[in-house]
């Protein structure tokens, strides 16, 4: 009996010490990891989508509440004026969620472009939605257009052999247009 108690006690103690240690490390690195992810995952797409901005886009981010959900919105500024915003939107692709960064020009109500952040699509097929040849489809388009693949009577050239992934990106863009219309005033007011 004593042996069992000892086993339980020692294991519990080890697990507790390890747990505490991990919690401390987690706490210590949390902020930096978040920043690293912003810089390395969102950063390249943002620099592309909000290309002519002069500010540090990742620093100038705001949390905006829509329908009790917090959405991180990145602001692109020129000469101190906000000219465009960008945010992430996800949609279900062929194998998992596709994260799409969508940028909007506030003055012209146009898409500035899109960038694919994360995906788990098939290499060589669905994964090709992240290539410029597909994402350029969305560059400088008026938001009132229909963003659907040509198979669904839209205007977007789907990546050949990857209709599902292309559709997912289109649906993310359409969703973000809805969101954009909802939050545009909030952003403009803050300006």
């Amino acid at each position: 009996m004593r042996e069992y108690i000892r086993m339980v006690a020692v294991l519990t103690a080890i697990a507790a010490v390890c747990g505490l240690l991990l919690a401390a490390v987690k706490k210590g690195t949390e902020k930096r990891i978040e920043e690293q992810i912003l810089v390395n995952v969102q950063g390249p797409a943002l620099n592309n989508v909000l290309a002519s901005s002069t500010n540090d886009i990742i620093q100038d981010r705001e949390e905006i509440t829509v329908d009790q959900e917090i959405k991180i919105v990145f602001l692109g500024k020129k000469n101190g004026q906000i000219w465009a915003i960008a945010f992430e939107m996800t949609a279900m692709g062929y194998k998992g969620k596709i994260g799409v960064m969508v940028g909007f020009d506030l003055e012209k109500d146009r898409l500035t472009g899109i960038g694919i952040l994360t995906h788990q699509e098939t290499p060589g097929l669905g994964a090709r939605v992240s290539e410029p040849i597909f994402t350029n489809n969305f560059k400088d388009r008026v938001i009132s257009e229909i963003f659907k693949v040509k198979k669904d009577n839209g205007t977007i050239d789907a990546v050949s052999g990857a209709t599902i992934s292309s559709r997912a990106v289109c649906s993310a863009v359409e969703q973000s247009i809805v969101l954009y219309s909802a939050i545009k005033d909030q952003v403009v007011k803050k300006k």
């Binding site: 042996e3 000892r6 086993m7 020692v10 294991l11 080890i14 390890c18 991990l22 390395n40």
Partner: protein, 197 residues
């Protein structure tokens, strides 16, 4: 034979050089050695985990009950692996993205559990530290060796820099999975040509 720090440290570089002499921990050896950068990252992470798990396990070896020792070792190893993972994500994001899941898989790297069970649980702290460091660095050197061969032949680069002539056509087989096996096999055969001592 008398055990000295120098001997315990040095044996990891030749006598029981992992993975060539021990033939343990082959999963990272085959999977991440497509680029030298990954090889170094993986090797040093493993060394860190190996060193600290050896030290900790050796220092509490007397209070761990025999029947739950493996569970205790795994908890300790897993803790250090998660620490490595978090620190890497925070400070070496690009490597951590390259290595991905393989950092977490250090937990099940047989070398680490093997050293804990075979060495750290029976020897004093200072010897276990020397053992962990030596084996870890030996492992790192082996990974660098394999990844150098594979990266130079398979991509024509070393640490991302072009080293082969301009018209060199990369021998892509070397950076594919079968190439890893062939490369490992050839090095194993070569090392076995030389005696252990």
């Amino acid at each position: 034979m008398k055990k000295t720090i120098a001997h315990e440290f040095l044996k990891g570089f030749w006598e029981i050089l992992p993975p060539f002499r021990l033939v343990l921990g082959l999963c990272p050896v085959l999977a991440v050695t497509t680029a030298v950068e990954n090889g170094i990252g993986m090797g040093l992470s493993t060394t860190f985990v190996l060193f600290f798990s050896n030290v900790i396990i050796s220092s509490i070896k007397k209070i761990i009950p025999k029947k739950v020792r493996i569970a205790s070792y795994i908890i300790i190893i897993a803790t250090f692996v998660v620490i490595v993972e978090l620190v890497m994500k925070a400070y070496f994001f690009s490597i951590s993205k390259q290595l991905g899941l393989f950092i977490n898989l250090i937990v099940v790297n047989c070398i680490i559990l093997g050293r804990a069970e075979a060495f750290a649980s029976k020897n004093p702290i200072y010897l276990s530290a020397a053992d962990g460091l030596g084996i870890g660095l030996g492992f790192t050197l082996s990974l660098i060796l394999i990844s150098t061969i594979r990266e130079i032949l398979g991509k024509g680069t070393f640490l991302g820099m072009q080293v082969m002539w301009n018209s060199y056509e990369p021998f892509a087989f070397m950076v594919s999975a079968p190439g890893a096996f062939v490369c490992l096999g050839l090095i194993l055969a070569l090392i076995n040509l030389f005696p252990k001592k």
